[in-house]
């Protein structure tokens, strides 16, 4: 394939202007999604409210009763609660950037219209990801309020959790978007959830710590974004360690920035053949 200036599909050299989004147009894309959410939020928020509540009930209050001494001195339900803030953000981002984006793109064909306006693929991806992480933050805040209300947050630093959830949301969203931009058909999402999201939910340190397990378990977990967000939210909810938060924040930021170009290029190759 020859190099065509101004265009960057997969396997072609990308100019910076094909990667850097226009903030104004990304905001326009964001606002469409926000507007639709504002009409549907009542129905959409209730499950988010109930989901972590059930986990807390079953694991924190149920299973937790048998874990008499808590974990590292923290009562079990207080150990689990901050992780559920992080996982709510993950689930929200995962659904938004898979099924929702897929439908807007392939069923409703909304992106064909968007891309025939001044909006380019990088604006579209940036706006969608910004929206997805906004939604993740809203969900995270709902869960934060729930766990704080039942007395599972011991540190006032917890008030700083939302911006970190936004960052985690960006990272989860860019990963989900990457998957969506590369898959040919919708059936493949079951792999994304079964092999990616569900194991991440179970093995990222929400329900048990790694210090009694073989070292490789924590090494594997270190490569998942949820692990880093859980460490941040738990730190802030129980009493933070600034250095550790800095490292986890850096991890999420770098991964998000590195991955961003993949869905931009893939979407361009797919929608502007």
């Amino acid at each position: 394939m020859s190099y065509e200036p101004g265009y960057a599909g997969l396997g072609e050299r990308a100019g910076l202007r094909d990667i850097l989004p226009s903030p104004r147009l990304a905001a326009a894309v964001w606002s469409r999604n926000a507007q639709v959410f504002s009409k549907l939020w009542k129905g959409a928020l209730l499950p988010t409210f109930l989901d972590p509540f059930f986990y807390l009930l079953a694991l924190g209050f149920g299973l937790g009763t048998y874990i008499a001494h808590g974990i590292n001195g923290v009562p079990y339900k207080e150990f689990v609660a901050p992780g559920l803030i992080a996982s709510a953000a993950m689930w929200s981002s995962a659904f938004e950037t898979t099924y929702n984006v897929y439908f807007r793109m392939n069923e409703l064909r909304l992106y064909d219209n968007l891309l025939s306006t001044p909006v380019e693929p990088q604006d579209l991806v940036a706006g969608d990801i910004a929206w997805s992480s906004t939604r993740a933050t809203i969900y995270g805040i709902v869960v934060l309020i729930v766990v704080a209300a039942v007395g599972l947050v011991s540190s006032p630093w917890a008030i700083l959790i939302p911006p970190f959830v936004l960052l985690g949301g960006l990272c989860f969203s860019v990963i989900g978007y990457t998957f969506t931009s590369l898959i040919p058909k919708i059936d493949l999402y079951s792999y994304f959830f079964t092999i990616g999201i569900t194991p991440m939910f179970l093995f990222s340190g929400i329900f048990f710590p790694f210090n009694q397990l073989p070292g490789w378990v924590e090494v594997v977990a270190w490569f998942t974004p949820l692990y880093h967000l859980v460490e941040i939210t738990r730190g802030l909810a129980t009493g933070p360690d600034a250095a550790s938060i800095l490292i986890h924040t850096a991890w999420l930021t770098v991964v998000t920035a590195l991955l961003f170009t993949i869905p931009v290029r893939a979407l361009r190759a797919k929608l502007v053949p």
Partner: protein, 310 residues
């Protein structure tokens, strides 16, 4: 005046399939220019290259004087698009669809409301502003698509089969809105399967087949050039030898089409041609004299074989 669209040796391939094969054309500003052709002729691919949903393969394509490869954003900010598929946003109301579209063009928030009012008025949807898209008829959706393509006050509007699937009343309403658009001086570029639509709206036509341009011209001159003035349609009777009949009258006709015992002859005076036929030797079940149409031109140039979907 600079042409609205200029293509030189424009080529586009998808893998091994050549969709558009080194075509040259020029769309003058301010007119309605039509692309006709069977499915798979390359019309939609050409439109998509113009409005930025397909990359330019080889050759040159300039839209409003700008290079379609390098200046996509600038081009897209000055054109309007009505795609073949209706892709309105079903989660938003009619009015919100237009307001949202305006935001993609960076139109100043204060200017949007009056602009949207005007567009609703233009497309006869002023009492439908707060309806959901699902509540609109097919014709209303297409009119809204046309209205949406106008939010940025484009100099050129590209319409890919704007009336396919509409009933006659709805089609007429879309035509009227396109005629109003044309009167405002907007250049229209459209593809269609309907000869009536092409004759009614287009000042200039181009017929494509298999990625190439077959002919180009104003509708009346295309008819004159490729079909003559009138057509004589004969339904040949049993035992009528078409070859022998053609041998006796071929020189008096400007051409013919023979298809399953139906013979169409083109001539300046079809009545006279009919009289000159030896009806005892060549029995016919029916004979109709009519004016030659664009449909005759189209079928003569692109054949009668059915094409696979594009």
């Amino acid at each position: 005046m600079e042409p609205a669209v200029l293509a030189r040796e424009l080529t586009k391939s998808y893998g091994d399939r050549v969709a558009v094969d080194a075509i040259d054309f020029e769309v003058p500003a301010g007119i309605c220019f039509g692309f006709l052709g069977p499915n798979g002729a390359g019309k939609t691919t050409t439109m998509k290259m113009i409005y930025g949903l397909a990359r330019v393969g080889r050759g040159e394509l300039r839209v409003l004087g700008m290079d379609a490869r390098r200046e996509r954003r600038a081009i897209k900010s000055r054109i309007g698009v009505v795609s073949q598929e209706t892709n309105l946003d079903g989660d938003l109301t009619v009015r919100e669809n237009l307001t949202q579209q305006a935001s993609y063009f960076g139109i100043d928030a204060r200017a949007v409301a009056p602009r949207v009012d005007e567009l609703l008025e233009f497309s006869l949807l002023h009492d439908r502003g707060s309806d959901r898209i699902q509540a609109l008829s097919g014709g209303m959706k297409r009119r809204l698509m046309v209205a949406r393509s106008m939010v940025n006050e484009p100099e050129l509007v590209v319409l890919d089969e704007p009336t396919t699937g509409l009933d006659p009343q709805a089609r007429l309403a879309v035509w009227r809105s396109l005629e109003r658009l044309k009167r405002r001086g907007v250049t229209l570029l459209l593809t269609t399967h309907y000869m009536e639509e092409a004759s009614r709206l287009c000042d200039r036509l181009l017929i494509m087949d298999e990625g190439r341009i077959v002919t180009e011209g104003a509708p009346p001159s295309l008819i004159h050039q490729h079909a003559g003035r009138e057509a004589l349609e004969l339904d040949l009777g049993e035992g009528c030898d078409a070859t022998a009949l053609l041998a006796t009258i071929a020189e008096r006709a400007d051409g013919h089409e023979l298809h399953d015992g139906a013979l169409t002859l083109f001539a300046d005076d079809a009545e006279e041609l009919l009289r000159s036929i030896d009806h005892d030797r060549f029995p016919t079940d029916s004979a109709v004299v009519r004016r030659a149409t664009l449909e005759d031109v189209f079928l003569r140039l692109t054949g009668r074989t059915l094409r696979e979907g594009e």
